[in-house]
Amino acid sequence: MSDELISRVTGVIAKSQKIPAETVTIDKTFEELKIDSLDGINILFALEGEFDVDIPDDAARGIRTVREMVEGIEKLLAAKSEAAETQQ
C-alpha cells in the first residue's frame, strides 16, 4: 500500500471525524479514534466519494482499523482498474 493511498484515506477519516490529520495513523483502531458505527458509515460514504468506488455492505462490516480500511480501498481500486482495462 502506497504512502499516497494511506494519506488520502487517513485524510478522509480525519476530515469526517473533525480530528487533526496527524492523530489518524495506520495502526490505530476505530475504537482508539472513537469512531462508532454511525461515524463508520459516514466515513465509508466519504471514501466512496473520494475514490469513486462502491463499498459493499458485506466488505465494510468487519473493518475495525485504519489499516483494514486502507487495504479494503486498495482492493476496490485494483478491481476498478482491472474492470476498466477489460472494457478497453
Binding site: D36, S37, L38, I41, P56, D57, D58, A60
Partner: protein, 404 residues
Amino acid sequence: MTRRVAVTGIGAISAFGHTFPELWDGLATGKSAIRPLTLVAPGALRFPNAAEVPGYDPNRYFEEKEALLLDRFAQFAAVAAREAVRASGIEFSPDLAERTAIVLGCSGGGKSTEDDGFHHLYGLKEPRVSPLTIARAMSNAGASRVSLEYKITGPVFTVSTACSSANHALGQAFRMVRSGEVEVAIAGGSEAPLSMGFLKAWEAMRVVSPDTCRPFSRDRRGLILGEGAAVLVLEPVERARARGAAILGEIAGFGMSSDAHHITQPSALGAARAMRSALSDAQVPPEAVGYVNAHGTGTLANDVTEAEAIHSVFGEHTRKLLVSSTKSMHGHALGAAGALEAAATLGALHAGLIPPTANFTASDPACDLDVVPNTPRPAHLECAISNSFAFGGLNAVLVLRRLR
C-alpha cells in the same frame, strides 16, 4: 377514573393485502410478503426487495380529485381507518365525534410527494413545485384525512418518533380512553417510505438487507423496509359490552423510555425500562406474559440488544416465553410498524397462534430466545407485549391481553 380499554375494530393495509384478515391470514401461514421492489426502478439500489402493498390503486378508495390531495401514506391511513371503524360498528354522532380522538404515528410523512416535487425542482430545473406539496407531505395528513371522513372534532394529532411512532400513538390514545378524557379513539400508524430519495438514505445507513429479513438469525443482514397502515378502534370495555360490540382484545398497559445513549445505537437498558414500565402500568407480572412481538428488525445491533433486554426483564421466565418478529413477513413499516404489530399480536391472542419469525436459518447464541422459527405455533395466550424501539433511542411498549 380508570377504565379498561377494549379494541373493537382493526383495519390494516400491508404487503399481504388491503385488509386486516389478509394480514392475519398471511402471518398465520408464516409466509413472508417480502418481494422485489416495484415502486422504484430496479438496479438503482444495493437492496432489491421490500414489503410493498400489492395492487394498490388509489381510485379504488378515493375520488380521482381527492386522491391528488393525498400522499400514499395518508391514503393508507384512511383505508385502514375505514376498515377499523366499519368493523367496530360505531356511528359517530356529533356528540360522540367531539369525544373521540385520532392519534396516528408517522415517521417520514409524504416522502414520495417531496421526492417528486424536488425532482422537478433540482432534476428537471423547473422553477416551481405543486401547490399541493405541503398539504400532501405534512405528517399529520393521514390523521387529518380520517378526521374529515368521520367529522371527528376531538383531539386529533400525529406522533412522530421514527420506528416507535405507532406504539407511542397507540399508547397516547389508550391513556386518553382509560382516563376518560375521550370516549373512543381511532389510533395506529401509517407509512409509505418507498421513494427513491428516502430509499437512498436508508441504503447509505447500511442497515438494509440485500436479500431478506432474518430476525434473530445468525446470518441476519439487516432490515427490509415495508409500507402500509394499521388502525385500531379503542373504547372502554363497559361501553363496548353495553352496545354488544365484538371485543377483539384489550390494551392493558403502555410504557415508554428514552435511552439517552446514542442517536442510532440501541441500548438494552432503555428497552428493558420501557418493557418494565409497560408491565407495571398494566399491573401484570412478567410471568403472566406468554408472547413478545419483538421489535426484531433483523439488524445485527437491534436483535442482540433486544434479546439482552428481554432476558433482563423476564429472567428465568424467558425460557417459557415465545418471541417472534413479524417484520420478517410484513417488513419494517417504520411509523406504521407498531400498529401492524399490535394488530398481529391481537390476532395471535385471539387465534391462540403465534406468527413465526420467518426466513430463520440458524440460531445466534447472542439471541438466546425461542423465536418460533419459520412455523406458526399454537399456544394458549392470555397476555402479550409488543415492542418498538426507535432511532433516537425512544422506546414504546404495549401490553395486550385477551379479554375474558
